[in-house]
């Protein structure tokens, strides 16, 4: 179990590095799909099957296909960028971003975060009822207002995308 986790963790990290370093944006997108698949398998190991399925279906399926569509729509002939010059500002920004990692790691390895009050759903309960049933129950009871707001957000996003991307005829 542990070795499988490390293998998938390493694979997802290398996929992320691929997004950072590969030249061609389509290769970046494909390596990001690999990262999403590896994260999905880590979710399965964490007993979050619903999240794993949604990860593969929506992230690796829908969103990345959307990215690839747009990449292929914007023809690759003028994909050339001006050369990536390493200005002093960029180097400083890079080091500051690496500082973010140490900050998050310092927070996460301290114990205060992981000793909060335990919730009502230990692993036995989740396996008995099933995680999807539990999520559905929570969505339509405790989180019903957020659920309805998110529905409106989706509607607005769809309308906004059509309005923004529409070609103007004159």
């Amino acid at each position: 179990m542990l070795t499988i986790f490390y293998i998938f963790a390493a694979l997802s990290f290398f996929g992320a590095l691929g997004v950072l370093f590969l030249k061609n944006p389509i290769h970046c997108a494909l390596s990001l799909v690999g990262t999403f698949f590896c994260l999905g398998s880590i979710y399965v190991m964490l007993n979050a099957e619903f999240v794993a399925v949604i990860q593969v279906l929506i992230y690796a399926g829908a969103i990345m296909v959307l990215f690839l569509f747009v990449l292929m729509l914007l023809s690759s002939r003028d994909m050339k960028m001006s050369s990536n010059n390493w200005t002093a500002g960029k180097i400083i920004a890079g080091f500051l971003s690496i500082g973010i990692f140490f900050q998050i790691a310092y927070l996460f390895t301290g114990n205060e975060l992981k000793l909060g009050p335990k919730g009502a759903y230990p692993i036995e309960v989740v396996e008995e009822i099933g995680s999807i049933a539990l999520i559905g129950r929570l969505l339509f009871t405790d989180y019903i207002l957020s659920f309805e707001i998110i529905v409106i957000l989706l509607l607005v996003a769809v309308i906004g995308a059509v309005v923004i991307a529409k070609r103007k005829f004159n």
């Binding site: 992320a16 997004v19 970046c28 880590i42 979050a48 003028d78 971003s97 692993i123």
Partner: protein, 100 residues
């Protein structure tokens, strides 16, 4: 059982790579993918905390995060498309209309 710290460190690593992508890359679409990567890192830590604290709220939040990510991807790509029509470029340095 996988140690919680290791998963959280993986999530921190992925988030940092996402931040680096946003800061260092020039292509708008790659910057956008890096933002998706950061969202995924946050999702991973949500699942980890929700498992280690025996709660389901983190998983419900992931549902919301994924919906917001989908909406963001749709609107952002539409904006990129319409900017590409006027500027004919994907370089972030060209999109300087709001820059002072």
């Amino acid at each position: 059982m996988i140690p919680v710290e290791h998963i959280l460190l993986l999530s921190a690593l992925l988030f940092t790579v996402g931040v680096l992508g946003v800061v260092l890359r020039r292509n708008v679409i790659v910057i956008f993918m890096s933002i998706e990567l950061m969202l995924n890192a946050v999702n991973l830590s949500f699942v980890t905390f929700s498992r280690s604290l025996d709660s389901m709220s983190g998983v419900v939040f992931i549902f919301f995060i994924i919906v917001v990510a989908a909406a963001e991807a749709v609107v952002g790509l539409a904006i990129i498309l319409s900017i590409y029509r006027t500027r004919n470029s994907l370089d972030i340095e060209e999109f300087n209309l709001l820059k002072w």
